[in-house]
Amino acid sequence: MNVLGKYKSVVSARSTDKEILKASQDGGIVTSLFAYALEQGIIDGAVLAGPSSRPWQPQPFVATTRAELLKARGTKYNICPQISMLKEATRSYGLDKVGIVGVPCQIQATRKAQLYPIGMRDVPDKIALVVGIYCMEVFPYKGMQLIVEDHAGQKLQSVKKMEIGKGKFTVITERGNVTQLPLKVTHKYEQPGCHVCLDYVANTADVSTGSVGSPDGWSTVFVRSRIGEDVWGKAMAAGCFETKPIDQVKPGLEMVTKLATEKITKNQKTVDERAHFGVGKALRNPYI
């Protein structure tokens, strides 16, 4: 199995939109791409992870304007059930061309909703743009709260940005305090359901992106499908992004491959071990 999935092209990219970059996690790829698609009528709305009543707890919502898109900038690192809004978007909001962003498992769910739309009436033919984000794992809200409040010693309300990268979990507060934790500390708070996931770079998205492989402030972008190629090409032509060839940036594709291999190898082991979890009894394998 190719750990990076099928793709047509890969580049290092950054948005040219200053407003988006102000609060983006890395290169502002997702927000810029959706803003362009919305403006051009490629999508008429998008299911995104927006703010909720609890600090740093994301809540899925349907954005139909640029102003709403901007609310979803940045990575939240805890669970946001995007797919719960997918049918809402088509049936309650009446959208005909839906954009959706998600981590690999959510992109898998989106593709399953298209091919096996068991309970997804009016969804399969109305998915217009699927953008995936690289993901190693996420935390349940309470797990993340524990990491930030007990381990990093910061109030969730005061946190401006969180980052996972270079083996560290970094918490940056509004007042500028930076606390770093080794990932060794945070591993045990990961969502258990993530440990059977065999996809790191959202292999089935139209376009997938994440910081890994590119310099700070830039993102690595895989263009995977014909839809992805079409939208990405148009957005590039419209000047939405500046790009660099992936083989000319550090740490480059090697790093993406390394992390993808690590994740998939580790999780495949978990899947295999589940086959002998009890005494002569297996835990169900969802992939067979």
Binding site: I79, G119, V123
Partner: protein, 266 residues
């Protein structure tokens, strides 16, 4: 993509025969099939002849057919119904249970009898409790798109070339497995709980909440909570869950498959 376009031209030669068999259901599944609008005409024009169906076909006796779509559960006190499903099994190559009632009993699980003019009709079971069912298409109602996809794939399984058969086999396998699984005919929110959440597989995507036709599932702190008194036992949540079944190899070809489905429905 070649393998998918090739058959579009060569496809119309050998239609399959299909029938719709109505047991104890609300006709919502048939309505869902018809909600493919133009698509249902395309299916009947190009790929399948409808040889049996309540109100739609003027045929009294169940004929031999390639594919039987059974809607509704079966009342075991109703001899007509139980004889009928046995006969359907005997006369069909492929039996597809469509909708929650046929697959897992759905709302008819709550029946206690006592209704005029057959008050003794009180026990309803999914079709697969009485006969071998080959394919499940759960949910209340099943979606027009799911019925369309399964009809096209079943056609390819029976009439396609080797590659198409292989693709259709891959696509239908999980729905076949579901029909034979110990939990398929018992499906409800509890199945999602016992086969996904309790087994450490849930990652909080929210597919179940979107799929639930009665909005019994909400996402609390990113995880599904089911109001089990609202659950109608349709099985949509479990089947929609990416952690109930997911074939990476098939899903990798999602774009071609969606393209093919679109092409054959033209």
């Amino acid at each position: 993509m070649e393998i998918f376009t090739e058959h579009v031209n060569g496809i119309m030669i050998h239609k399959i025969t299909i029938g719709h068999i109505h047991e104890s259901g609300c006709t919502g599944c048939l309505a869902a099939l018809m909600d493919n609008y133009q698509g249902i005409f395309t299916i009947l024009d190009k790929y399948a002849d409808l040889v049996y169906g309540l109100t739609l076909v003027d045929v009294r006796k169940i004929p031999k057919m390639d594919v039987a779509l059974i809607e509704g559960s079966v009342c075991i006190q109703d001899k007509l119904a139980t004889d009928e499903v046995r006969e359907v099994r005997d006369k069909s190559s492929v039996v597809i249970a469509i909708g929650g009632c046929a697959c897992s009993g759905n709302i008819t699980r709550f029946d206690r009898g006592g209704q005029q003019n057959q008050p003794q009709h009180e026990s309803f079971v999914p079709v697969s409790d009485l006969i071998d069912v080959d394919i499940f298409v759960p949910a209340c109602a099943p979606t027009p798109e799911a019925l369309r996809n399964v009809c096209v794939m079943t056609y390819l399984l029976l009439r396609g070339n080797d590659e198409q058969k292989a693709l259709a086999g891959m696509y239908l396998k999980p729905l076949m497995d579901l029909a034979r699984s110990p939990y398929g005919s018992k499906a409800s929110f509890n199945t999602l709980m016992q086969e996904v959440i309790n087994l450490g597989l849930c990652m909080g995507c929210g597919s179940c909440a979107a799929a639930c036709p009665v909005r019994a599932i909400t996402m609390e702190y990113g995880k599904p909570q089911g109001l089990r008194d609202l659950c109608v036992n349709c099985g949509a949540c479990f089947s929609q869950c990416p952690r109930s079944f997911f074939d990476h190899e098939l899903m990798e070809h999602h774009e071609q498959i969606m393209g093919m489905l679109k092409a054959v429905m033209q």
